[in-house]
Amino acid sequence: MRQRVFRRTLARQAGTGANAPAIAAAARRLCERFAEQLAPLIGDAGAAAICARSLHLTLRNVRGLAPVRASVQGEAPFALLQQSLEQQEPAAATEVAVGVLATASELLALFIGESLTTRLLREAWPDDFAGDTTEETTT
């Protein structure tokens, strides 16, 4: 469910028929927005930990993105993610970006619950997550 919403959000941010650099830039903006949304609630360190874990889990199976995975503990993981996605095909870049965001939201839900996670996503992207019913459908 959230993968679909993130895919739609990413497409809108990147623009119709976007190339890989546009998708990479949009992915970075979305990741940074997500981290910004988390930071006041769980602190910069908490947000960084969630994002780093998400990058680690998503990128470990993606050939060619190992340097990003190795650098996720660095200070600017999203800048590195952007650089790496720019080298991918547009479709592959989209899949990776959506995977990173969806995994981060799943991790967050694992720690603080679906309800709070959905609330945070709605605050970050009110139009896109207004109809997110994950909290009602998850058992």
Binding site: D44, G46, F111, L120, E123
Partner: protein
């Protein structure tokens, strides 16, 4: 009409806490919640926060460097009071770790004020305030701690916020830490260890503008959150009601439900009295107590039994006096409290809950020995004083209380309670075993009924399928309580008491 300012007191949403604080938290006050790790500080302030936060007057919860906020949110959600619908609407969590580490007190103060001015919160919490202090300890520039605390207190009060600073402080710090001087309220939470038992306690060390209940109050943390059991302070006993001419009326008498025993008591137990039923194991104390309660139910006076040795389901139908139906009808309530870690105040709380629910007029505590064992070790030491407070509170409510106490059947030491509590009671009924004509017999006597005439007889009694039946006075024996009675021929005069004869001890 008074022109003095009237301080509004906010209900905390923590059962029992408002009473301890003296009516609630004073609005716009600046409070410190202190205690050791695991004492329940964060749980307490969050329970208060969720109770008070509204969309138009939200609560701001500033986390700093203590418990990571990710974990705090994860664990605190387990409590029933944690209302997810309020998060980010009426309750906002804001992390100040970056400000504390990078900018020190100036940056922390600036951010707090910024957020407060933006949201006009009714409640502000800083958790942990101690970690703010620790984060800036090494800094030599910027605001001093005292200045920071005063500035924070003034700004938040000025912005009409009620504030709670949460911190892991040591008691010795109360002497010189500026936060304790500035604070209007100081609540200290403890984990009191005694042998293998831990009891949570709370003390309101100060609460400006009102009178909190002094002393240590026990509290529990359950899935519902914190529940405080205010330390009971017994007031003066209520004077007996007066009739129209101002004369004291004699209290109404309550029937015990045992034929013959009412007569021995001088017409039943005076209403509002406490009665001790003392006797050895198996002598029929529980039967008498349940008969007392059942008789009340029969007469439309509901009753509550606090059981400390059996479970209520067993108690209701294993006693010779079956109570099942009256329990189902709501005329009798049976309380079985958690054993081994109780406080007297918690027991009283459970009792009064049931008493109010059933509008009870009679109470039984069966037994004092079981009750003492059910208490946490730390409270057993002052059991007598605690029991005094309990009995005074119950009788002060106009209830008639019957307590059972197990006695070792000794013929060389005549006492009515192993707890030295007999003097606390208004009446004492004694049960004993005696050997008569080669048979074990049970006898009963009324030892005292305060301010009332009563029988001095020793009377045989039996417990049958229908309960207790009191028989005749044992008239032809002397020395029954010594264990070596002898027959006295009818008409002979009793020998006068020797000067060295034993006196009953209470």
């Amino acid at each position: 009409m008074s022109d003095k300012v009237r301080i509004r007191r906010l209900p905390t949403g923590v059962p029992g806490l408002d009473a301890v604080l003296g009516g609630g938290v004073p609005e716009f006050s600046f409070n410190v919640i202190a205690g050791t790790p695991g004492a329940g500080k964060t749980t307490l302030v969050q329970q208060i926060m969720f109770a008070l936060a509204r969309a138009d007057r939200p609560a701001l919860f500033f986390t700093v460097l203590g418990e990571p906020p990710l974990k705090m949110l994860r664990y605190q959600q387990q409590f029933e009071f944690f209302d997810l619908a309020k998060v980010n609407t009426s309750v906002r969590f804001i992390n100040l770790a970056k400000e504390a580490l990078d900018g020190g007190l100036d940056a922390v103060l600036k951010r707090i004020i910024q957020e407060v001015e933006a949201t006009s919160p009714a409640i502000v919490i800083v958790d942990s305030f101690r970690s703010v202090m620790q984060a800036v300890q090494r800094q030599t520039e910027g605001l001093e701690v005292q200045h920071f605390v005063q500035e924070l207190g003034m700004r938040l009060t000025g912005w009409q916020a009620t504030t709670f600073l949460v911190g892991e402080f040591q008691l010795v710090e109360t002497e010189n830490h500026p936060v304790f001087t500035v604070a209007d309220g100081l609540v200290w939470l403890y984990q009191s260890l005694d042998r293998n038992s831990m009891v949570r306690k709370m003390q309101v060390m100060k609460m400006r503008g009102q009178a909190p209940i002094p002393g240590l109050h026990t509290f529990r943390v359950t899935d519902s959150g914190i529940q405080v059991f205010p330390r009971l302070i017994a007031g003066p006993p209520e004077p007996p009601p007066a009739d129209g001419e101002g004369k004291k009326r004699r209290p109404k008498r309550l029937s015990v439900g045992v034929t013959g025993l009412d007569e021995m008591l001088g017409g039943g137990i005076p209403s509002g009295y406490s009665v001790l039923v003392a006797g050895p194991s198996g002598s029929g104390k529980t039967v008498l107590a349940t008969q007392f309660i059942r008789e009340g139910a029969r007469r439309g006076e509901a009753g509550v039994i606090a059981v400390f040795e059996k479970r209520p389901s067993e108690y209701a139908h294993t006693s010779a006096v079956v109570l099942d139906q009256a329990v189902r009808d709501g005329q009798i309530g049976i309380i079985h409290t958690r054993p081994l870690d109780l406080s007297i105040d918690e027991t009283l709380h459970e009792l009064t809950d049931a008493i109010h629910r059933l509008k009870a007029r009679r109470v039984v505590i069966d037994s004092l020995s079981g009750f003492e064992l059910a208490l946490a070790p730390t409270f057993r030491e002052d059991f007598r004083e605690s029991l005094y407070r309990l009995v005074a509170a119950l009788t002060g409510m106009g209830l008639t209380v019957m307590m059972t106490a197990e006695l070792e059947d000794s013929y060389t030491d005549l006492r009515f309670s192993p707890h030295g509590t007999a003097f606390l009671t208004d009446a004492i009924i004694l049960q004993r075993y005696v050997e008569l004509g080669g048979q074990f017999k049970r006898v009963m006597a009324v030892v005292k009924v305060r301010a009332s005439a009563h029988s001095k007889d020793l009377r045989l009694f039996e417990v049958g399928a229908d309960g207790m039946v009191v028989g005749e006075r044992i008239g032809n024996y002397q020395g029954l309580l010594t264990g070596s009675p002898h027959v006295v021929s009818p008409g002979s005069r009793l020998t006068p008491r020797r000067p060295d004869a034993r006196r009953p001890k209470s």
